[in-house]
């Protein structure tokens, strides 16, 4: 078959069209709000990508999106829908914060890995719970991850208003729910003089590469993807389906937890603060990471440019607010439209590729894997449903 034929290009073309369509609607919204769409988008692009300063801000904004997105890639590839990124980020941040408060005097080379690991562990724990509930009790992970978001936020509010609150806040009587300034040894080092880009960028890039290797270069990744493509086939091949589901969600949560940790230790105040909601801390990255991953075709490496695009939109949105007085919430609405358009465009993609039997070929781990697999989200994702789970339990 022709590598460069339309059948290969189309899958890349369709998500791009989805984004273009969303941007077009955004332009109409800008016009309706009395701002020039051209000027608006111009301001956004130049703010996000037009200067070194802008680029480094964009990179920083992209970190949590990339980390969560990479986690979403792992989960969705294994056919588990992780909506719990928000809670996992919060939990990761809390674990990391507690770790830095526990060992404030450790030197940076020891403390930094400890806090990042703690963050990943916090997220992994919160991810493993819905994984276990799905694997052993047949509870839909969509719902349990959403519920755990609420649980995580309340734990955060409790800890930051009570046990972890900055003693100074109590002394002053202001009681702002935030920690004290955390140990300087856990600050993510700045990469360049005078720019806001910090070492979190490297953490996120390494995580994306690690996730790619995990998914396509290890037998564990092969097992996860097999479970995603067909739980039944995977089981007959002797793959432990239940354990794979838990592992996928734990890895996914670990990435989100890492994102939470990076948010705390890369923040300008170097504290963890809550406004009572999860969005106040995460900036909706737990949800926007889903957008990043979908746009990247559920591929960790493609998630890198994808996260830069969406991070740039966030940076541009702030400039938009200043330049043409359009609230930055516009970008959240546009992200929503992009999700809708990308998943709706699956319809056209399916119609352009009539033989589904070919998908099973891509299970072969050697030559077929890698970049070619980029274009295929797991078959199971499309027919995700309770019946798979029931059959699964019936067989085991």
């Amino acid at each position: 078959m022709n590598r460069f034929g339309s059948r290969h290009l189309l899958p890349y073309f369709i998500p791009a069209c989805a984004v273009l369509a969303a941007l077009l609607i955004g332009a109409m919204m800008l016009a309706a709000l009395g701002a020039s769409p051209l000027k608006g988008y111009g301001v956004m692009i130049s703010a996000a990508f037009g200067s070194l300063d802008g680029l480094s801000t964009t990179a920083v904004k992209s970190i949590p999106l990339l980390l969560v997105g990479v986690g979403i890639c792992i989960a969705f590839r294994a056919n588990v829908i992780n909506i719990g990124g928000e809670g996992q980020m919060v939990m990761g941040a809390l674990f990391a914060t507690v770790a830095s408060l526990a060992f404030p005097h450790l030197p940076a080379f020891a403390l930094l890995p400890i806090v990042l690991l703690a963050g990943a562990m916090g997220g992994a724990l919160l991810g493993a719970v819905p994984g276990a509930l799905k694997a052993y009790f047949n509870v839909s992970e969509i719902l349990s991850t959403i519920m755990l978001n609420i649980v995580a936020v309340q734990i955060m509010n409790f800890l930051l208003r009570g046990p972890l609150i900055d003693p100074g806040e109590i002394m002053r009587g202001t009681r702002i729910p935030q920690t004290a300034r955390l140990s300087q040894n856990a600050d993510l080092p700045m990469l360049f003089e005078g720019l806001r880009m910090h070492a979190g960028v490297i953490v996120a890039l390494l995580a994306a590469v690690a996730a790619y290797i995990l998914l396509w270069r290890t037998s564990l990744g092969f097992r996860l993807r097999s479970v995603g493509l067909s739980p039944d086939a995977a089981r007959y091949a002797g793959i432990p389906v239940r354990r794979s589901i838990i592992i996928a969600l734990a890895f996914s949560g670990a990435m989100a937890g890492l994102a939470g940790a990076v948010l705390v230790f890369g923040s300008e105040s170097h504290r963890m603060v809550t406004d009572g909601s999860s969005t106040g801390f995460t900036g909706s990255a737990g949800f926007n990471g889903i957008v990043v991953a979908l746009f990247a075709g559920l591929h960790p490496l493609w998630s890198i440019p994808s996260s830069l695009l969406f991070g740039g939109m966030l940076v541009g949105a702030n400039a938009l607010q200043r330049a043409v007085q359009v609230p930055s919430a516009l970008v959240i609405a546009l992200n929503g439209l992009i999700v809708v358009f990308v998943v709706s465009s699956e319809f056209f993609r399916r119609r352009s590729r009539p033989q589904p039997s070919e998908e099973s070929l891509r299970l072969a781990p050697s030559t077929q894997a890698g970049w070619e697999a980029v274009v295929d989200p797991p078959v199971g994702l499309k027919r995700f449903s309770g019946t798979n789970e029931r059959e699964m339990n019936a067989h085991e």
Partner: protein
Amino acid sequence: MPMSDYFTATILIATVASGIRLATPFLLASLGESLGQRSGVLNLGVDGVMLLGAFGAYYAVLQTGSLMLGVIVGLLIGTFMGLLYAFISVTLQAEQGVSGIGIYLFGLGMSDLLFQKLVGTPRPIVPFPPLKIPLLSDIPVIGEMLFEHSLIVYMAFALVPIATLVITRTTYGMNVRAAGENPEAADSLGVSVSAVRYSTSIIGNTLAGLAGAALAIELGIFQQNLTNAMGFIAVALVYFGAWRPIGVMAGSLVFGIVASIVLQCKTVGIIPRSASDLAAMAPAVITILALVVVASRFHQPAALAKPFVREG
């Protein structure tokens, strides 16, 4: 003062009454969601639709002062979003676990955008007046608890028996269940699965819009992310209630009354503010436990979240 003195009849009555009020948006939204799920459509965008409905209602009331108009605007926004969601999930067969998140983000951003652009600083509106039901509201204790609410509260609870009747006793209800359990069989008997799912998505989202309107007008205010994940809880309540209107109502009441107890304890000062955060997560934990029980005892509609593709 001994703790027991706080739990006088007045506080108990106030707690239950406000619990019922707080349960109303949950009830409306999850009744709509359960109808959709019964027909095989999972809608995770409820929270976004609620936010849009809430803003629409708030803005309409702010501009005209007419509560009725506010409710209608909330309803219509829901209807429109229902049509849109049906097109996405039924016609375009998008993955429903994800497209709903798109709808949520759209509603979250759009309602905030419009609020900032059109209103700016929060201005309160006049909430619903309580409507005392003659005779019934004169019953001591119970009257005050149950029969001094706003019209929309009565409407929401009246919908429970209506929804039960429609789902279990009418042809339409049977078609809905067939579309959710075995769309192929329904199709072979001449039931249009698409039409049924369009209708449930529209009704369900209309109720979500109404839930948003009820919330905004009850609180008399709109702000960014007003619902704070209430719509997601409404989706979970459908599982909590095992897809039955009466179960959904029980779940909504649990959430409403727990929320009201937490609020009440906070204002009376029985528990410190920080511990009330822990209490506030009780409903979520209860729901997760309920999900475990429900998943082992009941089965979800077999075709839930599965697009129906006609063979041939």
